[in-house]
Symmetry: D3
Subunit: 340 residues, 6 copies
């Protein structure tokens, strides 16, 4: 698995998405004839699952490939880090990369926030798997990044083709309520889904649109029989959300009717606490589909500190000058970005 994104966009490379003060700093240093070699270290202040590093190093690769003497050392997507641990170190001419600090920190902050939140859900749910469904909460320009981060955090699937492509998986999903509404009946929609979808798409049917979930689950199971892979419970908050007792009851009613093979997925406002509630109550959930807990996770703030200038230790007030011992960093082969 690895995030394969092409050459960074013109917007990023031009600095248009950077804090304006970096452009100004570059301009001032240019006029003053200054361009020291600096050592920058990047860290965050909490336990986190690193993500976005593939994108960040790709950007650094593009801008530093031809820079003599430049060294980049980094953690990898999926690494777990502790507070203040260095996750990225850049040793290069300041003006060669200064303009990209905002972009690099942003890539790390947002993806690490998502991956860390995903991991909280995955740990709460295990062994049942977690699927990420949050695309509807983030801007479409970054749904792929979200889905990739969710998978780095341990989710087994994500819902957008773009995100799945980044993660090297197929997208996962069931059917929208709108499909059931248009067919006017869950069984009719399920039968069409079964008729029209390729055989490798698992038949998972939403059963809360029109009727009681237990009744609908049995109707769908009777209609699709062995071809039914599972049902998804997504009871809206207006109807009390999915409860552990509902899952247990639906499981029992399916088993009593001979549909022990039908899996049960749960969605709707899931958080690690809510997932633990299902597990503590012994509810037989086969998979959890998580939306806003992952997609709505706040970014995790990363800081880039200059720790050496032309070889001399230095730091702003509040930080300790000089290179930090960081044995887990791995050097980047910048040559790989050089264009033939």
């Amino acid at each position: 698995m690895g995030l394969e994104r092409p050459r960074p966009s013109y917007e990023i490379l031009s600095g248009a998405t950077a804090d304006v003060y970096f452009a100004r700093a570059n301009s001032i240093l240019d006029r003053e004839g200054l361009d020291p070699v600096v050592l920058m270290e990047v860290f965050c202040r909490e336990d986190a699952v690193i993500c976005g590093m593939g994108e960040a190093t790709n950007l650094l690769g593009h801008v530093l490939a031809d820079e003599p003497g430049a060294v980049v050392e980094a953690m990898e997507d999926g690494d777990l880090v502790t507070p203040k641990e260095v996750v990225l170190r850049i040793h290069a001419r300041y003006r060669a990369f200064a303009l990209y600090e905002t972009a690099i920190l942003g890539m790390l902050a947002q993806s690490t926030g998502w991956a860390t939140a995903a991991r909280q859900c995955v740990e709460a749910a295990a062994p049942p798997p977690v699927i990420s469904f949050g695309a509807r909460h983030v801007h479409p320009d970054i749904t792929d990044v979200l889905d990739y981060a969710a998978i780095v955090g341990g989710c087994v699937g994500a819902s957008t083709p773009a995100g799945a492509r980044l993660a090297g998986l197929n997208p996962t999903g069931t059917m929208p309520h709108s499909l059931v509404l248009i067919f006017g009946d869950t069984v009719a929609a399920a039968e069409a889904f079964d008729r029209d979808m390729p055989p490798d798409v698992p038949r998972i049917v939403l059963v809360d649109t029109f009727r009681d979930e237990a009744e609908e689950a049995l109707r769908v199971a009777r209609a699709l029989g062995d071809r039914l892979y599972g049902i998804r419970l997504d009871t809206p908050s207006e109807r009390g959300r999915v409860t552990a007792a509902l899952v247990t009851e639906v499981r029992a009613r399916l088993d009593q009717a001979g549909f022990g093979h039908v899996t049960i997925s749960v969605s709707g406002g899931l958080t690690p606490e809510r997932i633990r509630y299902f597990r503590d109550e012994g509810a037989p959930v086969d998979a959890f589909a998580v939306g806003s807990h992952i997609s709505g996770a706040s970014p995790i703030d990363f800081t880039g500190d200059i720790k050496e200038i032309d070889g001399s230790p230095i730091a702003k007030r509040g930080r300790i000058p000089g290179r930090t011992e960081s044995p887990r960093l791995k050097p980047l082969d910048l040559a790989a970005w050089r264009e033939g």
Copy 2:
């Protein structure tokens, strides 16, 4: 002010960023020969400042411009809405827009989350203004969207050129700590900034890099004199963050030395609560620069419900069938998107 973004990206238009089940639904309906005209209503569940609607309607404009009978009614960016109020209504063939539901909800969710958080800061700070500095917490592909949302929420400035361009403003910013570190002295950095920047860039100098803020503020004021527009206090948490007493003291020391014209901006972990603390303590802050409270705001979840199919009221369980009375919606002129 208005968000001017060009034709939506191929990724969006192709549905690659959509939940996969929408593509599947379209495919099934196509095979089944179904394509009813539906009425979809979009709402959220909290008080919010609507943002992202310009983008969302631009996308709808592109996909529905040539659709006979299609009607789109919407709120506008900056509108304040209450829980469950309809903010967008689409009346069109389902398959003409189904694939874009994920994108539309994502545009609204993320921008509205940011704009609403920005407004909380702006209300806490007023009359002093608020500037948004959060670019480093979000993916560079959407820093422009963040900055625009912050300004819709009431901020007077944002830090990226791309964001400022979207909002029709100039980007705002001071100088990075790295510039001061490279010059090795705040006054030297300030003098270079003053020497090299165009006259319309306000001279605002960071004074917490090397020395005590009060000492440095006076040194900078003596060096730049009347050309100094202001100082920014950004004391790191390791040094106790900026306190109200520090602002008061620096103001007093500047005034006693004859630098009453020098403004004081504050940054570093600001939230509405923290802003109120400064105001309650009577600290003479001239501007607040807010980062993660805005950029780290969780998206506000939007829901799209089908309420009519081919003219008949319908709704899934938990919702009320039929069109909701929504006098504040304004119709969109879809013809404007038609290509000559």
Copy 3:
């Protein structure tokens, strides 16, 4: 309205239900030749709706009817009292009534506890009415007492024939889940109910047994038409209990289908807080059926203090000797109990 209970039971009159120490005290006083005239005052320590006083004074009437000089003064069922206010005063030979102190305090404690809890619900719900359904939580020997107390506290109905008889009302109720289960279908059960019950019994149908409430409500309304008086929502906790949104949705769906005349009753774990939730959310509830909040209310402790003996003020430690000013007490006509 008035509690009409016949001659107290042999068990009560014999002292078998009294604390044994009262029998012992009587025996000792007898052997010692002591039998002073005492003044006893009864009070509780909280705000309360007095109930059980009809029973208590009936008992005193039976035992003191022929006692020369005996005086009983009392509040009436339904009176609101404040902490430490005297609610009952007995001036008589000690041995003439000592054995009944336990019974009198018990009648007051339990009924006052129920009536006070009922009133809390009634005040939270008004103007919609409250019905008491708690018979299943108390011993069958006192369900009539419970139902009477609930009505004293302001309920408009109670569910047992015995209780209703005490309060001079008809019992209220809908149908048990078991009836629906036996018919195998809510509509079939509703039609039988409609066919077989006298016309003055309102047709109120439980709609949560087999199917979704909104679906079932419409089915029943279509089957019974104008003869349907109302539906009752009693969603079990396993399905998230009744929510305000469910009531609102069912109301809307009934109205849209032309069944605006069908009322909605709610039951299931109702408390004053829960009732206020429905009202705060604007849920269109027509009646609340309350069970355990009333029937499970703790008794309100009453204390009987001797304050005079043979005309001299006296009291145990912690109490103030002598008669307490109590203008709200009304004298009892003991002669009414004398047997022709």
Copy 4:
């Protein structure tokens, strides 16, 4: 020990104390010619000490003795059960017992509530014993039921003759404050008690009526000498209630004066928390007399669910159809109720 109550009252057998909807259901089924054999299971939702089952099965014995094929299986009074565990199962013609569901649930709810609360006190106090004194908080028609439940919960004594009779014990008690007040002196009252009571009644004297408890305890001990079994401390809340230090001091003063044989009972607002306070402070209490914590305990709600009809599994929404595995239930010998 076993609750021996005679033939259930006419009120119960006639259904007058039942929720009216059961009578209606019976009437409808009669008119419709329906009378299936049903399986009903009864359970509660918390940890509990079962009580009231003797009464409930007595009622079922009376009504089902001559019913062919009827089977009743039940727990016994004093059994500890866990949430949702089946405590009673009835397999019989529905109309043969439907009218008694309210009575059965009420017997179980109230007695189980009391027994469970009693056990909490007993566990907090052990090894010193607990006596139940709550008759004054409940209606005199059920003081015997209360006292029996307290003893099922582990109390060693209860205060009413009727209750003691049910439990096969003698009633326990000391003397009322009124006796002391009439004698005008605790010692005089104690001497009369000693003079007039049979020798098997333990001499336990209340010592808080007129004077300081420590002073009075010594005066009484000197007056009765070896015949004094114990004293009871019941300091009113107006005087700060009984404290652990008071018990310790009275114990020390009695011991110093040679009255080491005199026991100390404590009463007044005792709860498990308060009992634990005495034990944690090391107060030498010999017995605890508990009132309202037991008598004021809320009923524990029991539910009766139909799980089979004519042999087919069924259940309302929220419950799992079919017979629940319940190995602890024991079958009832219904023949024992058949009249010669």
Copy 5:
């Protein structure tokens, strides 16, 4: 009223009670030939009742009486100040007073802490008066200072002769428990007190030593009749402390027996909260005797800042240089300390 203390002790004047670094600073300045005129301002950080200022200015008067140009401005004992308000300003040669900073701050800190706590009690109790009884909690060398501070804070009396002398009052007090214990009976002790004390000492008798307070109060009142001024209730915590109900009961029993003239004082763990409890409950307390809430009050920290040196504004980091506007300060007539 005013604190008249003689020449400060040798220990204070020699600097032995000062922080050693002041002696060192003086020695260094002497060797370096430095002795500027400084302006020092003293303030605290909370709302407070100033006390100890009489002592502090007396010390300054002694050391600065002959210092040319020295100016001292100060608040007075009993003044209420707000946070950061200047309470004392000294303008003099640094070495003339530097050694006394510790002593001056200590005098203010401890006395202001006590006076402020006393005022909280006085405000909670008013109109009934408060008496300070805290001598047993502080070192005997400063009981006079404590008593004086309590009176500055609003107490009407204090218990030590030395403290009363400072405040120009007679000491107040009743009798110790030991006197009652030695006489073996409260009435015997009260009669001796009445026999032996001068007529101007009010007869206030402790009534909780041996017997119940209500009983003892009546016995003492009967013994001393009109000569009894009052009783004091001081029930120990082992007996539940004094309750509002006890005061009410004793008042009622005294009044019923014709002793309406006997006052009731309360003591024992009183705090402003506890005093408010008595008032909220309507307990007829005539006086409150407060101990540890006043004597155990933490000192209120005072800070002395140098704000000018030889006429130039200066301040350490965290403070604002230069003289603070302080119109409430009054100049001290230093000449009054000059020795003829």
Copy 6:
């Protein structure tokens, strides 16, 4: 170590600092010809480090040296006691010592309060030592007592010459902010301190007066080199107080510059919680200087109870008569106080 204070003051010996009721009690007993031998026991109600006992026994030695048969048994300063443990027992004629009860309890209360608070800090800080700096919070007449108590509680130093003398140590301290302000520069002040102080005074320099602490620490270290013993961080609350990160940073900067020998002391609002924060964060603090947590500690209330009179056990209500088993008490050699 031992507290050597001379003959108690005239104020104490005359009873002027005693509660006036003791003088009255003595006068009454004198007139009544009573003077029994009593046994008095003194205890407190919490875990404590006993202090003030040296002073208290010195006072008892002076007043009981010539009293035939008098016995005093006591704990020693520094002993740890538990709630209600007897710490002092006096067996003597009542009138021989009654007047000194207030003084004895006051000595114990205040010193024990301070010593106990000091020990809390010492335990939180260990192994780094704690120094007491609280003289500025207490009256100068008792700063020596405070400093002695702090050392009894485990502090390794205290700041006043008088206190140090009592404890047999040299006073400890650095330099006041005023010295730095007068020199106008920390380095200049440090150099003068180094030039003028005897060589045995450790060179510890305050580094927060004018400039940033990290900058100033390096300037001072460069100026004094090996002669610098340490720096003290005392950042004011207006600048966020000392943080763990500041200590870590200053340590790192000193080490990087070759000043590993320079120690770091921390002061400013330290409490056990705050000390634990530094330790939990791993901040390399070498010594903690604690002020108001020790000097502002509330006195610990001591009670003196008469438990025997002329050999007979007795006690007031709430206490247990007679001598308490107290094996840890040691008898005092009263003969040592007899004057040749």
